[in-house]
Subunit: 206 residues, 2 copies
Amino acid sequence: MEEKLIPDIVVGRLPLYLRALQHMTNEGRQVTSSQELGERLGISAAQIRKDLSQFGEFGKQGTGYHIDFLQDQIRKILKVDRVWSVAVVGAGDIGSAVAAYQGFANRGFQVTMLFDNSPAKIGKKIGNFTVLDIATLEETIRKEGIQVAMITVPADQAQAVADLLVKAGVKAILNYAPLSLNVPSEVRVQNTDPATHLQRMTYYLD
Amino acid sequence: MEEKLIPDIVVGRLPLYLRALQHMTNEGRQVTSSQELGERLGISAAQIRKDLSQFGEFGKQGTGYHIDFLQDQIRKILKVDRVWSVAVVGAGDIGSAVAAYQGFANRGFQVTMLFDNSPAKIGKKIGNFTVLDIATLEETIRKEGIQVAMITVPADQAQAVADLLVKAGVKAILNYAPLSLNVPSEVRVQNTDPATHLQRMTYYLD
C-alpha cells in the first residue's frame, strides 16, 4: 500500500474529505468537485486535487468525482473499509461519553471494551459496557488483537496506561489526557485536549 | 502584539510547550532546555528554539530556560494570562463531560454556561450548571461578552448553532460535532472528532 511516503499532513486531510463526502451522500448527492469540497472544508481546490493525486486518479477533468467511488477509495486508503475494535481506558465522564459516542458508526470503529482501575467502577454497567478491571487489560487486549485505544484517565496515570497499552500490542492511541505521551516510534498517538485547542485560538483574540 | 505574522502551525505548538512547562513546574523543576522539552514532546530542539525565537529571547545559550519565566511569557503570548469564560452548547454526554472537565483550571478557561434546546434538559442541573435555553443564547452571550464557545450538539444542528454563536459575538469555537463549520474569516474554529483522529492513524496500521 505505502509504495511512496505520503506526508502525514496529507494523510490527516483524508478523514476530512471522507467526512464531507459522507455528508454529501446523506444529502442524496452523487457527484462533487474539488471546488465544492474545498468550499465546505476551507481548503483550496488545488490542494485537494494534489492530495488525492498522491493516491491515484479518482476524478476526471470536467466531470468531477463520483462521491460513492471516492468514498470507497478513501476508506480503503485509510483502512476504515473494516471495523476496528477500540478499547477505552478510563471510565470517568469523558471515557463514558466517548464509549457511548454514536459518531463512530459507519466510520470504521466500534468501542468494544471500557477499562478502569477503580473498585467502585469495575464490574458496574456504564451505558452498554461492563467496566473491566485494568489489571486484565494486557491479557484481554492481546487476546482480542486490539490495535486501537483511547486514553481517558487523569494526566498522572496516562503514561502508565500508555505503557500498558503498548505492551499489549496497541499501535494507535487517541489521548484525551492533557500531557504528551512517550511511546515507541511504531506507535501512533493523536492528542485531543480541549484547553490546548482553545489556547491555539485565544492567541488571535483581542 | 502581532507585529509580524506568525504561522499558525507555530502558534499551535505553543500550547504544547506551555503544557509541558506546567508539568515540569508540578514536578518542582525550575530550569529546562530545548533538548529536554523536545524529548518530552517529540519535537526537535532546533524547532523549539526557532519557534520561541519568533516571539523574543526567552533563554540563554548554556543556561536554558527558566520554567516559570517562559511559562509566563507563553501565557501572555497566547493570552491565557487571564481567564476566558466559555459557553458550552449541547448538554448531552460530551457536553456534560466537557462542562465538568477539571483540566481547564490554570489553563485560561472556565466554563460558565451550558445551553441546550431540549425542554427535558432546560432548567435542570447537570453538574454545577443549570441548563440554559438556547433561545436565550444570543442575548446572554452578548451581554456577558463571551468570545469562546464549544459546540457539542449533533452534526445536523451544529451549523445552526455556529451561526447563532457568531451572531452573538463568539470568535473562537471548539467544534466537537463531526462536520466542518462555515464561519466568517474572523472567527476561529478548531475541530475535535474522535473518528477523524482515529482514521488518521489507521492509515499506518496493517
